[in-house]
């Protein structure tokens, strides 16, 4: 049980900022190719946009089932990244060689661009899910947190 914040400024600004943070995270993810940014940075921004409402508005009760299972989404994100990298290995080329992804009608440099975008999305999902699940598990009282 976390009490909501007292100040009305925090409440209003949180209401305004949460969607802006998420939009900015998407921008950082997609423009990671051409400007500073990329998967890890976007993932932490997403995680911040999930943690901010908890800090501002408080939360009652123990974790829901979905929050307890949030770490699975992290695993799925990593599987997405490693899976995109594994496809060229299974085809006989090298691991993480996005130029050899089996997509018809695209030249190698465009396929690399698409591959990198795909893995960055995987990284974002993984990082956001992991950071959020760390935060959720800290809220859980009673269970030891050795890991």
């Amino acid at each position: 049980m976390i009490r909501p914040h007292d100040s009305v400024i925090v409440h209003t600004l949180a209401r305004v900022f949460i969607p802006i943070i998420q939009l900015f995270a998407l921008y950082v993810l997609i423009h990671g190719h051409d400007s500073p940014g990329g998967g890890f940075q976007a993932g932490t921004l997403f995680a911040a946009s999930f943690i901010l409402p908890v800090i501002a508005f408080g939360i009652q009760g123990s974790l829901t089932v979905l929050e307890r299972r949030a770490v699975i989404l992290g695993g799925i994100g990593i599987l997405l990244f490693a899976g995109i990298g594994l496809v060229p290995l299974l085809l006989g080329e090298e691991f993480l060689n996005y130029g050899e992804l089996p997509i018809p009608g695209m030249e190698a440099s465009a396929k690399r661009h698409l591959g990198i975008l795909g893995i960055e999305i995987g990284v974002t999902i993984a990082v956001a899910a992991t950071a959020v699940s760390i935060y959720y598990s800290l809220r859980e009282r009673g269970e030891g947190e050795g890991n």
């Binding site: 051409d34 400007s35 890890f40 760390i134 800290l138 030891g144 947190e145 050795g146 890991n147």
Partner: protein
């Protein structure tokens, strides 16, 4: 000696931060302060790497047009930046694991000072 400070101030900054981080780790008894020292030391190494990437009159290493010829001297070296992105992620994960351990230690011994923890463990 003076020309090191004048022409290579980034190395001096790195050395000061590195030694400061190690000093904090060695001297502090509070676990969180030890972690602060550890992260400061890792950050100083990241600073050292980034300063290796700087060139005179260089810009960010993004090729904007595909028609003009590319001269490597006009762009900053992107490799140390990419390496340090990885190192930052490694440092953040280490910090996350260590903070989780500190929380578990606090729940167990109800204190964060290392001498009290050692005393309670006997």
């Amino acid at each position: 000696m003076a020309d090191i400070v004048l022409y290579r101030p980034h190395f001096v900054a790195f050395i000061i931060l590195f030694l400061l981080g190690i000093y904090i780790m060695v001297v502090s008894l509070n676990l969180i302060k030890k972690l602060i020292g550890m992260y400061l030391m890792q950050t100083s190494i990241i600073l050292f790497f980034i300063t290796l990437a700087v060139k005179k009159d260089s810009t960010i290493p993004i090729i904007l047009s595909s028609t003009t010829a590319v001269t490597p001297e006009a762009y900053a070296n992107p490799l140390p930046h990419v390496l340090m992105l990885t190192a930052i992620v490694v440092g953040v994960s280490t910090l996350g694991v260590s903070l989780a351990m500190v929380i578990a230690l606090y729940r167990q011994y109800n204190t964060l000072e290392e001498d009290q923890i050692l005393g309670k463990m006997q």
